[in-house]
Symmetry: C2
Amino acid sequence: MQVMTTICSHSFDDYLRMVESFHGHVAPGMVLGGFMVALALRHLPAGELLDALCETPKCLPDAIQLLTPCTVGNGWLRVVNLGRFAMTLYEKRSGEGVRVSVDPSRMEPWPEIRDWFLKLVPKEAQDRRLLLEQIREAGSGLCGVRPVRLLADFLTVRRRGSLAICPECRESYPADDGVTCLGCQGGAPYRTDGPPRQ
Amino acid sequence: MQVMTTICSHSFDDYLRMVESFHGHVAPGMVLGGFMVALALRHLPAGELLDALCETPKCLPDAIQLLTPCTVGNGWLRVVNLGRFAMTLYEKRSGEGVRVSVDPSRMEPWPEIRDWFLKLVPKEAQDRRLLLEQIREAGSGLCGVRPVRLLADFLTVRRRGSLAICPECRESYPADDGVTCLGCQGGAPYRTDGPPRQ
């Protein structure tokens, strides 16, 4: 029997197409992530201005970026890598929201999900088709939901002060970073490899 | 005179629509960022498998996510906040690529861009329409391009080891993080605010 499924008003298949287009491939974490975002939204009043916190850099940030107005570049999504596959949507000013996490204790009926999520079998030994089917059936039933309130410190928007021109690279940078920019202080993870091309 | 402009095969107006849809509004940084991504791609061989490094969390990551296959969630885009409006696209394995940065010394003919980019006048005093027009005309001419090579350390994919179940939150986390997860070690920027809802 085919399970009728929607994710945030998208049909399941439409969501898979969106995932493929944005994320590059239909990753199981993106599918589970879609259910998580949808679940969080169901527990929040419609029309609120929401920010997002994601506790892993893997997959889940892209589900949030696809299904909410929150992106990394507009600053409404922040990724703090706590190593947990969990996310919070919260009202921008009050910091009140809901956190959705994956609960391993609910995976017993879904061995393929358990083996993938808890990394119990190597990727090559996983049955991808069965895994996606189980995620589709289990959906948000794998997840816990809990009201949370973001700490005031986290909500405070740090307004950066004035900019300076770095005497080494001649680019602009926040003057508060020091007499040169953080890149020229040794933070850049690359070395230049030839003369400028433009 | 209307300037004919394209950004990575999109017409300028189409790109603005993509920006509005994904980023939420037509931010000047997204428009400049589009020119930067397009410029980087012009300096790289077509068909290479590229990763991206972005040196600011503001706007530029979204231009990269819109115009390349690199996203935060698929791991092909990494944001390292060095406070510079600059980005690098590089071949995944060799780490060879090009870095595109904004060169303040080229802003003299574009006062509206200079005042915005260097934060010389408050947002309310900026002429948004003129600013976007100047960015459209100046385009990638504001930018420097330089070959770079990413450091081996940065390229090394850290494969995370096995997962454990945290004895406090009962969620899975990388066992290497300690006897409890980083969230339960005090890293979570929120407190729970009521009983579970699911």
